[in-house]
Symmetry: C2
Subunit: 448 residues, 2 copies
């Protein structure tokens, strides 16, 4: 009998815990789920004979140490900044650990210690980061096997609303942390390299420099640049690649409208608005417009943003309720916090809504017989409002890796990303059985 | 004999030190000038029998304690963040201290201790802050004496190039710290209140929401909003004023052109540019423009910023050298640092150039017989490249206050601003003898 400890039973843990419980009997596992919220942990274990739910504050040293007794593998689904203490104690106790989060500098520094302890600390094995690594590295290794020279790599991922649930003018709903969506792109310019030239896009221009991508059967998407595309050169062994660009997908038209909220200043999280609690949404909007005794907030906004009155963008803004008399009701709130509240009233998933993950990679490379180009895409629609596309694509790779570590298929040690063949091939293969499948096609190669 | 210690002999200390030395014989002063750079201190003392120059690192505890022996008054012209240690030791030793800088929270916290020690820590007594306080508070107190109700207060100051030295298409040269000019407006939205409505302008829109002001005999200026106009409500006792707005003057047309540099992302100081040392100004500009194999940097810039080819703005940008092959030559530089270098080559004062300080206040208030409006303006042109308008307007109020503290005219203690009648009346009066004079006029009152 092997003991698995899952820390954190939030939305993104649903599919992970279900997989572990579904495989527990065959694999000989016991699955313990610890969360600050006992009811949440219980709901995810759902009475399974192979599972156990308990209350756990993983930041409390005593509780954590007790929870780690007799554990064979830990999955940490905590917010990224909280993994490190768990990871340190896992190394001490020689327990392998998996997290879906980006490797922090602190985590990276544990590599030597983890190797000495003979355990793996596997990170970035959710969807993005995660499935993007698996699917990209597979093709990059195939190109490498042909002695191909990589000339361009582009990669986009989006967490979106499924077409059957897409019923609003933004073609968008929150399928993930709303705060991250509101703040997306802030904190420095987006950096990438194109044909050997470094390019920088400041935040206030980010949503006007988009790229349109069509995916067979799903129509057009637009992508805006992620903060730092350059760091993926090291991760993927593409140090000398002349073009690398990573971005985030939205439905076409989203970014042009979102840009107006950015231009107004509504996404700013750096200061608080005076008396935000008692202001209306309309007053919030007016706070970013020039004063006028006579003109309406609507006309001032159209004038300041230069929006024609018959431009459908204007309907998007009005539909959000930016001109309504509804009260903000948040004390000492930043513009971004107020905007998030306004958006949550409009962009939250309804009970029967389904979400969708869209991923797309483009590879341009040179082999002895000329230039080649491959597109690889994956579209995955969630099952319901618990087993969402986000929950499946984050949780299933984590769960599959848990199985492979416990049964000895993955023998690596140290702080790792899922970029090794012994990880990505079996994980991609098993993901296909869940319908998470990449469609690869060769197209006529084109540079710029 | 009274001993005055001036710490810091930089550009802004020239007029201050000259005043103190000029008055030393009559007042019975000895003026010691300490600076890290002994030659600089010597050049400012200029061989005067009443002065002494010495090398001083005011952050070194031992050197500082020695320098403060037998001193009757300290003027700290250090960068603002370094005043605090000097101030603490001055209180211990019961020495009054004057700084032209904004009061920091740490400085404010010394109020009680300074009062107990019976000494004054007089701050914000340069030009802006400084002369703005003196001249505004004088009129505000006069309005208060008439039981007037203040309805609007606006105030703008600019450090500019004098008309006779204005020979470039931007009508601007650096007359003060260039880095502060490049970063002006960053670090949060500009806040003010207009007719009771709070208004917020995000940085990327700051230079498009300007106000045009005409000053008799000097033509038109444009003002953009300062970071926080609201804090002046407390300072001036205007807690309930419905409109308060403070800003910075430029010549008309500057802001529209500067905005293009902001839009490109060239004023960003939050990240470094890859291989900045070896890039040309042209490549720097191109780093903010979309990639194209064929199009010129010039055309891409005009297209991205939507500038007509015959728009004079374009000449301003080209004149800066943004398209030149000149090398940046700065390692690991931020965009803002590179832009500063480019601008310094074009906007530095020539030997015989004169600078100009322009200040303008507007007061709208209600008295028993109706609405009134007063405009108060001051334009002051520097004498040469040492006794600049900036040096005179910063240094003379400091020097006059030094005299008034030493001769007992100012009897206040504690951490102070120059907003008391016993300070502003005599200082304004003596400034007039130097030609630093406000022109007050009543105009037809107008709100919005």
């Amino acid at each position: 009998m092997k003991n698995i400890l899952v820390i954190g039973a939030g939305r993104s843990s649903s599919s992970l815990i279900k997989y572990l419980l579904d495989h527990a009997e065959a694999e000989g596992w016991k699955v313990s789920v610890g969360d600050m919220n006992l009811d949440l942990a219980k709901s995810k274990v759902n009475g399974s004979a192979h599972g156990e739910a308990f209350e756990l504050n993983a930041l409390d040293e005593v509780q954590r140490s007790k929870a780690l007794l007799n554990v064979d593998l830990v999955v940490s689904m905590l917010p990224a900044r909280f993994h490190i203490e768990v990871a340190k104690e896992c190394i001490e106790k020689r327990i392998p650990i998996i997290t879906p989060s980006y490797i922090s500098e602190e985590m990276k520094a544990l590599d030597e210690a983890a190797k000495e302890a003979g355990v793996i600390l596997l990170n970035e094995i959710g969807v993005d980061p995660g499935i993007d690594h698996l699917s990209a590295k597979k093709i990059l290794d195939e190109i490498d096997d042909q002695n191909g020279e990589m000339l361009a790599f582009e990669s986009f991922t989006g967490g979106l609303i499924a077409p059957e649930s897409d019923d609003n003018p933004w073609n968008y709903k929150f399928t993930w942390n709303p705060r991250n969506v509101v703040l997306a792109g802030q904190g420095g310019a987006a950096k990438f390299i194109q044909e050997g030239q470094y390019k920088y896009i400041p935040y206030h221009k980010l949503f006007r420099r988009t790229e349109i991508i069509e995916i067979d059967g799903y129509g057009k998407f637009e992508g805006y640049a992620n903060r730092d595309s350059l760091k993926y050169r090291d991760v993927y062994g593409l140090e000398d690649i002349p073009t690398i660009y990573r971005g985030t997908f939205r439905r076409v038209g989203f970014c042009r409208a979102w840009n107006y909220l950015v231009q107004l200043g509504m996404t700013d999280d750096s200061y608080t608005i005076e008396d935000s609690e008692n202001m209306s949404y309309r007053e919030f909007t007016n706070a970013f417009l020039a004063y006028s005794r006579h003109d309406s907030v609507e006309l001032k906004l159209r004038y300041q943003l230069k929006i024609d009155q018959d431009d459908p963008i204007y309907d998007k803004l009005e539909w959000l309720g930016l001109f309504s008399e509804r009260k903000v009701g948040l004390k000492n709130a930043t513009p971004a916090q107020i905007l998030q509240k306004i958006l949550e009233e409009k962009w939250s998933l309804k009970d029967d809504d389904k979400d969708m993950i869209v991923m797309w990679h483009r590879f341009v490379y040179r082999v002895s017989d000329g230039l080649k180009e491959i597109h690889s895409s994956m579209v995955y629609i969630g099952q319901d409002d618990v087993y969402t596309a986000m929950s499946d694509t984050v949780g299933l790779p984590v769960a599959i890796c848990a199985k492979m570590i416990l049964n000895g298929t993955i023998k690596l040690t140290g702080v790792r990303l899922p970029i090794e063949k012994e990880i990505y091939l079996p994980v991609l293969k098993e993901l296909e059985t869940f319908g998470i499948k990449f469609n690869e096609k060769e197209v006529e190669a084109k540079l710029y």
